[in-house]
């Protein structure tokens, strides 16, 4: 008795129709699953008749986004089949499902090899296409010989495919380029456009990849005259229905030839000269009413600009671009701006002639065009046109979409710095940007601007007055507020004395100024960073204003602020009022002119009167000099205990001598009573040069322990925060253990404002370098790392107390822990 046969699997179009009737995603999924199950059974039955149908259906479902990997082997079977229908679907499936990342990819090689030699050209075509689209390097190596053979066939259908297949082989296995060289000999004498086009592509690929090939084709093969001839024929010949596109003969081939000419002519006088005429001809004769003509013109312009063309031709090219700028078609305008951007460096003057048109494009409605116009406008700014250009760019900044504002503001600052005609103009421009786009200004602009203002000595009064007036209007834009606070702190005396020369001085009292600054401290609009600026500014005014009592009051209030940053500052400033009043004027005196090094603000600003304020501000860009040692005192306050020594942070070793000694005392006294005065930070460089200088000269070592052989450990794991320690021995000092902490967060919310602190017993010394960031991203998407260096000369057992603070889901979290499970190798 025969077993009942399974019903024939449903047809592809039937399946498509059925799936399209699904009204919900769930319904569709159900149908798909059902069909997949049927297909799987059918595959298991090794049914030859319906394999093709099933794979086709699988490919459809794959396009909808469903997994189809179980069809991979079936594709191989289809490819191996004798039926053309099977092969067609099999190769299609292979191209979609069997790319080089799949294990079974290589199993295709033999089938492809056989099919490359098939008697039917359409089968050969399928094999060439598949190989040329996604053959792996190995497959290409195996089959390169077959491809090379087919490159020499007289069958143009196969020859063109073989040429592109060769391109793919060369891209995957560049060393094989040489073997295709002989076959290229008479490629360009073909009449067939398909072969011509793919041959040009092949020659282009070879010339781009190998300077030797390039030289060979220039000199030995006389490629340029051949290409010029072909291009000329295309332009001059009459209407050819087979290749015509809107009256132009084979624009695809023309563009490809122009591109190859570009490569051949670049940097080569002879080649460039040989193509001058044809380029001029194309540039002047091409019909520009349709996109296709403009595509050719565009390529021609690119070629002219890249080769060593004569100046007349270059001017012609730029003028074409100028005309493009006035074209109604947005695409043409966009392309013109992009090209002009490429040529603005080399042909600056020629592009300048089109400046007004370019600036008009800033007002274009199209976003892509506006962006290009903005980039190009900045590239065109120079000493001569700075005033006019800046007017336009500032107007653009006022009215542009938010996505442009940050880049535009940065561009304005850069241009102003380079070409400002006067200091007053410069300050005014900065003010304009801060007041109109102040919230989009990048964070690193703030220190840059501060430095700029500091160095414009004669403009101090004017600047502080303008910034003060801006603050009265609006305190919501943080960069503006920060710069303004800083200036008021520095130059508040000039403000109240009404000394401004540049404009009508305003009458403002000390109390009014302090009102504004205090207003910043309490406002909800101010970020913690801004509050820090404001408090420090108020403090600085204590040496510039007479109403010291008011300032003392404010400072003492913030000594109990919840914000740890603010609290710390207030405590320090309080101390300045109390015990160290004699030092106050020196510490708070006017900033000297700063030297600008590279383009990074914070680190340089720190090297002045020992005032650490600006470096503490930038929480996001911790410079090598970090928080003062006082942070450790918070740790001590909470830990108590006499046997712990605060963390010694790295400090800049060059401190002015006068303040040096007293600063040491300052830090010493601030440590908890009962604890011995810690080795002062600044004397460490001289007593233990190896330790501190190691930290400054060698970058933190974030390598994993495998190198050092010390196993890692988990130091802390609570509430979703996990801190692992990895170890390494520091060269050259074997007493130093380098520990890298890796903090990760498995909860669903980020942990922000993350601060890691550590304290060790007396016999050790600890150095904490800057953390990689202060945000521990959610769901283990990244780690915060920080390097701790522990000097353990007595080789005692390492113990550590750590304190963690962070903000999680809006609330501040703090925790303390002891770490005792250090592996013996880390301290022995």
């Amino acid at each position: 008795m025969a077993l009942p046969r399974m019903p024939a699997p449903i047809r592809l179009r039937e399946l498509i129709r059925t799936i399209r009737t699904a009204r919900t995603q769930a319904e569709e999924r159900e149908m798909i699953q059902k069909e997949c199950a049927a297909i799987r059974s059918s595959f298991r039955e090794e049914d030859n008749t319906y394999r093709c149908r099933n794979v086709a259906k699988l490919l459809y479902m794959h396009m909808l986004g469903y997994p189809a990997h179980f069809g991979q082997l079936e594709c191989l079977k289809l490819i191996a089949s004798q039926k053309f229908t099977d092969k067609r679907i099999g190769y299609l499936g292979a191209m979609l499902l069997l790319d080089e990342r799949q294990d079974v990819h290589l199993l295709m090689t033999n089938c492809i090899k056989n099919d490359l030699n098939h008697s039917t050209q359409y089968v050969q075509g399928l094999a060439l296409c598949t190989l040329g689209c996604m053959g792996s390097s190995e497959m290409c190596r195996d089959l390169a010989g077959e491809v090379e053979k087919l490159l020499k066939t007289s069958n143009s259908y196969l020859r063109k495919k073989a040429a592109l297949c060769a391109v793919h082989v060369i891209r995957k296995v560049p060393e094989l380029m040489e073997m295709f060289l002989p076959a290229t000999k008479n490629l360009l004498s073909e009449k067939n456009h398909g072969v011509l086009h793919t041959s040009v592509v092949l020659l282009t690929e070879m010339c781009e990849r190998s300077p030797d090939m390039l030289a060979h084709f220039r000199k030995n093969e006389k490629l340029v005259p051949q290409l010029v001839r072909i291009l000329k024929n295309l332009i001059m010949s009459g209407y050819s229905p087979e290749h015509d596109v809107s009256g132009i003969s084979d624009p695809f081939l023309q563009v490809r030839i122009l591109r190859l000419l570009r490569i051949l002519g670049k940097g080569d006088d002879d080649s460039s000269e040989a193509m001058n005429d044809i380029l001029a001809q194309v540039a002047t004769n091409t019909e520009t009413s349709k996109n296709v003509g403009n595509a050719i013109l565009y390529e021609t312009v690119l070629t002219i600009m890249d080769i060593k063309s004569e100046s007349g031709l270059r001017v012609l090219a730029i003028n074409i671009l100028g005309r493009f700028l006035l074209n109604n078609d947005k695409n043409i305008r966009y392309v013109a701006l992009t090209s002009l951007l490429k040529t603005v460096q080399t042909d600056h003057n020629a592009v300048q002639r089109h400046r007004s048109t370019i600036v008009d494009c800033l007002k274009d409605l199209d976003v892509s065009i506006k962006r290009r116009a903005m980039e190009l406008s900045f590239a065109l700014v120079n000493g001569n046109n700075i005033r006019g250009m800046m007017k336009e760019l500032l107007y653009f900044l006022d009215s542009c979409d938010p996505e442009f504002k940050a880049d535009c503001a940065s561009g304005v600052f850069l241009a102003a710095e380079k070409y400002a005609p006067s200091k007053r103009w410069h300050i005014d421009t900065i003010m304009r940007v801060l007041t109109t786009a102040g919230s989009y200004v990048r964070d690193d602009s703030v220190p840059n601007l501060i430095q700029l203002i500091t160095n414009s000595v004669e403009m101090h009064a004017y600047t502080v007055q303008r910034l003060y007036k801006a603050l009265l209007d609006d305190i919501s834009q943080q960069p503006l507020v920060q710069v303004a606070s800083w200036c008021i702190g520095e130059y508040g005396d000039l403000l109240v004395s009404g000394q401004c020369e540049e404009e009508e001085p305003i009458q403002v009292t000390e109390d009014e100024v302090l009102d504004v600054l205090e207003g910043l401290l309490v406002s909800n609009l101010s970020t913690p960073v801004t509050r820090g600026y404001a408090l420090t500014a108020i403090m600085k005014l204590s040496t510039r204003f007479t109403s010291v009592n008011r300032i003392k009051k404010v400072v003492s209030i913030y000594g109990s602020s919840i914000d740890v940053e603010l609290q710390q500052r207030a405590v320090e400033y309080n101390a300045l009022f109390k015990k160290y009043d004699h030092m106050r004027p020196a510490l708070l005196e006017r900033m000297p002119i700063m030297e600008k090094t590279a383009s990074n603000g914070p680190t340089e600003i720190v090297q002045t009167n020992g005032e650490a304020e600006p470096s503490v501000v930038e929480a996001k860009h911790p410079p090598p000099v970090t928080q003062p040692t006082n942070q450790a005192n918070d740790l001590l306050d909470l830990l108590g205990g006499n046997d712990v020594v605060p963390v010694i942070q790295t400090t800049v070793p060059t401190k002015p001598a006068s303040a040096g000694g007293e600063l040491l005392d300052l830090l010493g006294d601030l440590s908890l009573s009962g604890g011995p005065a810690p080795a002062p930070a600044t004397s460490v460089p001289s007593s233990q040069p190896a330790f501190l200088l190691d930290g400054l000269t060698s970058p933190p070592l974030f390598n994993d322990i495998a190198a050092a052989g010390i196993p890692p450990m988990t130091a802390y794991n609570k509430n979703g925060l996990k801190i692992d320690f990895t170890f390494e021995r520091a060269n050259p000092n074997p007493n130093i253990a380098v520990i890298t902490i890796h903090a990760s967060n498995s909860t669903e919310a980020d942990m922000t404002d993350f601060v890691f602190q550590a304290a060790v017993p007396k016999t050790f010394q600890l150095q904490l370098l800057s953390p990689s960031s202060n945000v521990v991203p959610t769901l283990n998407q990244g780690t915060v790392t920080q390097v701790i260096r522990v000097l353990n000369p007595q080789k005692q057992q390492l113990r550590m107390r750590i304190k963690l603070t962070y903000t999680h889901k809006g609330s501040a979290v703090q925790d303390l822990a002891e770490v005792n499970n250090f592996p013996p190798q880390s301290w022995q």
Binding site: A56, M134, E242, F252, R259, N291, A295, K330, V367
Partner: protein, 154 residues
């Protein structure tokens, strides 16, 4: 070279995906998501070019379908528009007044036609007639009775 060509509807449903370099499924899905989001968000009369990472994206809408090409930076964007247009013309000639449904129900044919026009991210044949003739000849080779009788072979 061209890196990929995607066809999708105005609702973001994928109708064709051609990849000219090897990429993981995850990467492909991300690109599809990014492209559909970016293109569908464009204003009606914007220019047809966008910058995405290091690629130029050229897109054009034909009726209910978006054709989206991702090309390398040295490619000619204006010509890329012509490439898209040529492909649409080829489909139109084959199906006779092609519409989205044709491509949905005969997606394999759309691929076959594309594979006669482009290969490895480059143009293979610049003549419309030759491409059409190759497809017709290949179709004739599908030697089943159903195919002969103009019924689907599978």
């Amino acid at each position: 070279m061209m890196r990929f060509m995607l066809l999708f509807s105005r609702q973001g449903k994928l109708r064709l995906q051609k990849w000219f370099t090897s990429m993981s499924e995850r990467e492909k899905k991300k690109i599809i998501r990014d492209m559909t989001t970016m293109v569908l968000a464009r204003q009606p009369r914007s220019c047809n070019f966008m910058q995405w990472k290091d690629l130029k994206i050229v897109y054009k809408r034909y009726a209910s379908l978006y054709f989206c090409l991702g090309v390398e930076s040295q490619e000619n964007e204006l010509l890329a528009l012509e490439i898209i247009h040529r492909y649409v013309e080829l489909l139109d000639k084959y199906f006779g007044n092609v519409c989205e449904l044709d491509i949905i129900f005969n997606f394999e044919k759309a691929y076959f036609i594309l594979d006669e026009f482009l290969m490895g991210g480059e143009i293979q044949e610049t003549s419309k007639q030759i491409v059409n003739r190759s497809i017709e000849a290949s179709d004739m080779l599908q030697e089943t009775l159903e195919e002969y009788m103009s019924k689907p072979a599978f």
